[in-house]
């Protein structure tokens, strides 16, 4: 500070000019040397104090211009105050920038003119950008999580599907083996009356090469009569959805064959079957055996009836003899004998009536099982 002391001007204009030039040098170059100036000690001290203040101002403003905000500036006065206010503002802005860096977007600058506007606008945009980025990151994170979950789900499904397919394959193999090696003939027939599958037993019966099984119309099945009969049986199953069992009699390789046939809906859609399974079982042997048994039964009845006839005659004749003899020699038991003979007679008469009934049964059996064939000629001895 320049001491506020009044003292009379003692130097010439040249001296004043030299002092002013020194001050101008100090302002222009940052330093000046007053050593050679012809001044009183007091004026020299004052000038040196002024030049020292100017040097401090120069040094401090140099630091500020280089962004060094840390130096303590102890010079007082309006010019120094302005520089210190500038330092204070810059320090505050630095502090605010640090807070913003740490995520505090509430920082605003006021009363620094255009700089405040620009700075505040920048902070708002930074905050907006950060919010946008956070939203974007959140969206990405969500998408990423969803994708990861989907991948996991697909992986799990794929593994499950693989296991299921393996199971299905095994299951299909088992069923195919069962179907293929079954004694029963198995067909699968579509609603279009096409045979989509036949097993080995059916192939053999139909004389198809098992290696060349292919889709073919039901009507083309060999032997022709089987196709016709199947077609007739299939129709109600396809139209009602209810399965049925029937025995089909078909001529096959010069003889009659009986096939016990069951038709079951296999795949059902809207709500009728689209495919049905036909199970055929050759029961010709059983049928033949039953017929044989029936025939033998009738013959046995025939035999029994003949025996009856003979037995009746053989009992009735001796009874008549006993009755005649007892009436010739009347005695105390004659009447009793006659009563007992009558009882026996009526028993034989009832056996005769039974024979008549048996004859009716025999005729019924003949009519139904042998088509009127005269059994007498077929009686086995």
């Amino acid at each position: 500070m320049i001491p506020k002391k009044n003292h009379s001007m003692s130097g010439s204009d040249d001296e004043v000019a030299a002092v002013l030039q020194t001050i101008r040098d100090a302002l222009a170059k940052g330093s000046a040397n007053p050593a050679n100036l012809p001044l009183s000690d007091q004026n020299r001290q004052t000038l040196e104090a002024l030049l020292a203040d100017l040097a401090l101002l120069d040094s401090f403003s140099f630091h500020l211009s280089n962004g060094n905000l840390s130096p303590e500036f102890r010079l007082r006065g309006k010019m120094a105050g302005n520089l210190k206010a500038l330092q204070a503002n810059l320090r505050h802005i630095t502090w605010q920038a640090q807070q913003i860096t740490q995520g505090d977007f509430t920082q605003r600058i006021s009363f620094l003119g255009e700089f405040s506007l620009v700075f505040n606008s920048m902070v708002e945009r930074l905050e907006y950008a950060r919010t946008e980025r956070e939203v974007h990151e959140q969206v990405l994170a969500n998408k990423n999580r969803e994708l990861t979950e989907e991948i996991e789900e697909r992986k799990r499904l794929s593994e499950h599907l693989f296991v299921t397919l393996e199971d299905l394959k095994k299951s299909e193999e088992r069923y195919r083996a069962i179907a293929e090696f079954s004694d029963h003939g198995i067909f699968i027939i579509s609603r279009e009356y096409s045979v989509v599958y036949v097993n080995q037993a059916a192939s053999r019966f139909m004389n198809i090469n098992p290696e060349k099984k292919s889709v073919q119309p039901v009507d083309d099945i060999n032997p022709p009569f089987l196709g016709d009969r199947l077609h007739t049986l299939l129709e109600p199953v396809f139209t009602t959805g209810r399965g049925l069992t029937s025995t089909i009699e078909v001529p096959h390789e010069g003889s009659l064959r009986w096939l016990e046939t069951t038709i079951i809906p296999l795949i059902t859609r809207d709500p009728l079957p689209t495919e049905v399974m036909v199970l055929t079982h050759d029961i010709t042997e059983r049928v033949m055996m039953e017929k044989e048994l029936e025939k033998e039964g009738i013959i046995q009845i025939e035999k029994n009836m003949e025996q009856f006839q003979i037995l009746n005659d053989q009992i009735r004749n001796p009874l008549q003899v006993i009755l005649g003899l007892s009436s010739l020699e009347k005695g105390p038991y004659t009447d009793k004998i006659a009563r007992e003979i009558n009882i026996l007679n009526s028993l034989v008469a009832r056996l005769d009536e039974g024979w008549v009934e048996s004859e009716k049964v025999r005729k019924f059996l003949l009519r139904h099982y042998r088509h009127g064939e005269d059994l007498d000629n077929n009686i086995c001895s």
Binding site: A80, G81, K84, A85, A88, W95
Partner: protein, 182 residues
């Protein structure tokens, strides 16, 4: 900014124990003149009061009384105006907004050392000193107390606040250091 009122007994402990009742119901009390007054009046009261105090109790004690009054004001100001701040930045932001809105000054932070609880802050256009001549010493003793009261109410810890630059030392802004009293 409006001032909330607490009704209560004035002069419970001592004649002038502070309560917000002394602030009064300004809205109904000053329907025409309102909340504001000329700054000269505020300064007139402050500096005549300081003069009177100084004459009665000496400079040092007068300054201490002023510091303590400022501290009480800072504590009450936090309680009634700032109310609550979850962290330092919120606290500073609320103080900046309130001080600016009420025309007290423009608060800025130059440095905050959270580890050591040490701060450098400035108040520009200060109520007490901005525009005063360079008289060679700092005068914002009341502000020192006020800042100490605010920090103490916020942190629950005691602070020592010292003004290092002031309009009255030829500066353009008042600069304060605030350090934790260990």
């Amino acid at each position: 900014m409006g001032v909330c009122l607490i009704t209560g007994n004035i002069a419970n402990e001592g004649k002038y124990k502070f309560t917000w009742d002394f602030i009064g119901d300004i809205k109904s009390g000053r329907p025409n003149l309102g909340f504001t007054t000329r700054l000269e009046v505020y300064r007139l009261m402050q500096y005549t009061l300081r003069d009177a105090l100084e004459q009665e109790v000496g400079t040092k004690t007068a300054d201490r009384i002023f510091y303590n009054a400022g501290k009480l004001a800072g504590t009450e100001f936090y309680r009634m105006v700032i109310v609550n701040a979850p962290d330092l930045n919120t606290f500073i932001k609320k103080c900046q907004d309130a001080l600016q809105a009420m025309g007290i000054g423009i608060l800025r932070i130059e440095k905050s050392d959270l580890e050591n609880l040490s701060f450098i802050l400035t108040v520009s256009e200060d109520l007490d000193c901005s525009g005063l001549p360079d008289i060679g010493f700092v005068v914002c003793t009341y502000d020192e107390g006020f800042i100490a009261g605010l920090l103490e109410a916020f942190s629950g810890k005691k602070f020592h606040v010292v003004e290092i630059d002031c309009w009255c030392t030829g500066d353009r802004t008042c600069r304060f250091t605030a350090d934790l009293i260990r």
